[in-house]
């Protein structure tokens, strides 16, 4: 190979001249540096860094973020992680296993509708309405061993396995919202009746819970009953069990018992006053009171 060819081959392999690999002459760089740099030493008009006087030398300048009219911690926008956390509704968990055990030991009666009052009367839970407890939530622990046929009413259900476990045995579930005043009354009945107040009228659910209580998949108390019938069938097909016929059931009367949305106890209506001492009930006869407590 000739020397010319060799040189050409080398040129071919060498990098091309481009903007990224060219540089100014060192004299030019030096000049530019001189123009832009602050004068130091004897030519300097002021000292760089900490001077021989003032706040900088004594290190008494305000700490980072301060020293201006609005300090840094107020200038920067922020999002609180627990914002509004203390306003959330709390639901105390109770599992299907616990419910089954209470039924086995005779502390809950499955032949009558079970609601928040019955669960609180067993004294298993530490339900305190002062801590924003709005009732109980049913969890799916023990769904495999659950055998009872119940008409149960709880405040919150998250897993559909819970609903499936109850409906497989021919039971009925509903989720119902209760006002804070109603939870006070239901969690401690003796205390409430002896306070001499009339039975409260249940309020409507708050804005963020309306969707939950009107949907049939959650078995909400405000849902359309026809839709609930469809959802029951859908869930049975999903989990692979046959739905027992409610109309032929001997306990049909108990299983079809539902409360009015404004009502909190079966057989008792809002506005009535209970007298525990004389064992009687006082019902308002005045038209204004009747209109007020009407649902």
């Amino acid at each position: 190979m000739a020397s010319v060819e060799k040189a050409l081959l080398m040129l071919r392999n060498l990098p091309r001249v481009a903007l990224n690999n060219i540089k100014e002459f060192p004299e030019v760089i030096k000049e530019r540096k001189k123009q832009h740099a602050l004068p130091r030493g004897k030519d300097a008009k002021f000292k760089l860094g900490a001077d021989h006087k003032g706040a900088a030398q004594r290190m008494s300048r305000p700490r980072l973020g301060f020293g201006k009219s609005t300090p840094g911690y107020l200038r920067v926008p922020k999002e609180y992680y627990y914002e509004g956390h203390h306003l959330l509704r709390q639901y105390i968990p109770i599992s299907l296993l616990q419910i089954q055990r209470l039924i086995d030991l005779g502390r809950l009666n499955p032949n009558e509708p079970i609601d928040l009052t019955d669960i609180c009367n067993t004294k298993v839970l530490m339900l305190d309405p002062n801590k924003r407890h709005f009732g109980v939530q049913l969890t799916d622990e023990g769904a495999d061993i659950f055998k009872a046929k119940v008409n149960i009413e709880v405040q919150w259900i998250l897993s559909e396995l819970t609903i499936a476990a109850i409906e497989k045995n021919g039971g009925v579930v509903t989720t119902k919202y209760y006002d804070r005043d109603c939870v006070y009354a239901m969690s401690d009945t003796i205390n409430f009746f002896s306070s001499g107040k009339p039975i409260p009228k249940n309020g409507t659910p708050p804005l963020n819970a309306i969707e939950y209580y009107t949907s049939a998949s959650n078995r909400g108390y405000l849902a359309n009953p026809d839709e609930i019938r469809v959802e029951r069938l859908k869930l049975a097909q999903k989990y692979g069990y046959t739905l027992p016929d409610l109309e032929k059931d001997p306990l049909k009367e108990m299983l079809s018992k539902r409360k009015d949305p404004r009502q909190i106890w079966h057989g008792l209506e809002p506005g009535w006053l209970v007298n525990l001492k004389d064992q009687c009930i006082l019902k308002p006869a005045d038209k204004e009171w009747i209109d007020y407590y009407k649902s």
Binding site: D104, G106, L282, K283, P284, E288
Partner: protein, 190 residues
């Protein structure tokens, strides 16, 4: 003197007539206190227009009776077969009558077995309470049963250590063997 009067006032409001006797016991100079009359009840000066009519009925009070809590834990009902769906077993007196010891149930009809953790979770114990009768024989049988269970289900050959508290009628087992203890109790019929 003012202080005593205030006190009596409070008592009057709470207890009524009985407060006189209480006051007599506590104070020496009774005369001034005895002369005091009970406080008048809350004045009812409402006119007829301000009160509304009510209907009194006793029929619906049966619904109220269902809402009142049972203050005593009820006796569990009899089931056809044991264990029940939740795993509860009733005491079998025929089985346990042959033994020289017995373990009582708690007031909630459960076994008095309590798993504990000491030394920040590194020392695991199981406490058994309410042991009646020959506690040393109970301890011996329990240890033997757990050792057999460990060999059978976990393929482990190890000795089980226990502490016997004869005065408080308690036995503490080293290791979290609460399931085997449970099994032993069911087998004994406690």
């Amino acid at each position: 003197m003012i202080r005593t009067f205030l006190r009596v006032n409070k008592l009057n409001a709470l207890v009524g007539k009985n407060s006189y006797q209480l006051a007599n016991f506590s104070r020496r100079s009774n005369q001034s206190i005895q002369e005091r009359k009970p406080l008048p009840s809350r004045p009812f000066n409402f006119e007829q227009d301000q009160l509304t009519n009510v209907i009194e009925s006793k029929e619906e009070f049966d619904f109220v009776k269902k809402l009142l809590p049972n203050l005593i834990v009820p006796e569990p009902p009899k089931h056809e077969s044991y264990p029940t769906p939740s795993g509860w077993v009733a005491p079998n007196y025929e089985k346990s009558s042959n033994l020289s010891y017995y373990v009582l149930r708690t007031r909630f009809h459960n076994y008095p077995i309590y798993p504990l953790e000491r030394e920040g979770g590194s020392r695991k114990l199981v406490k058994i309470k309410r042991v009646e009768g020959d506690i040393w024989q109970f301890d011996k049988d329990l240890r033997k049963f757990i050792e057999e269970c460990l060999e059978k289900y976990e393929n482990k050959k190890q000795t089980v250590y226990t502490q016997v508290n004869e005065v408080q009628r308690q036995v503490v087992v080293k290791g979290h063997h609460q399931e085997y203890v449970n099994k032993f109790f069911i087998e004994c019929g406690f």
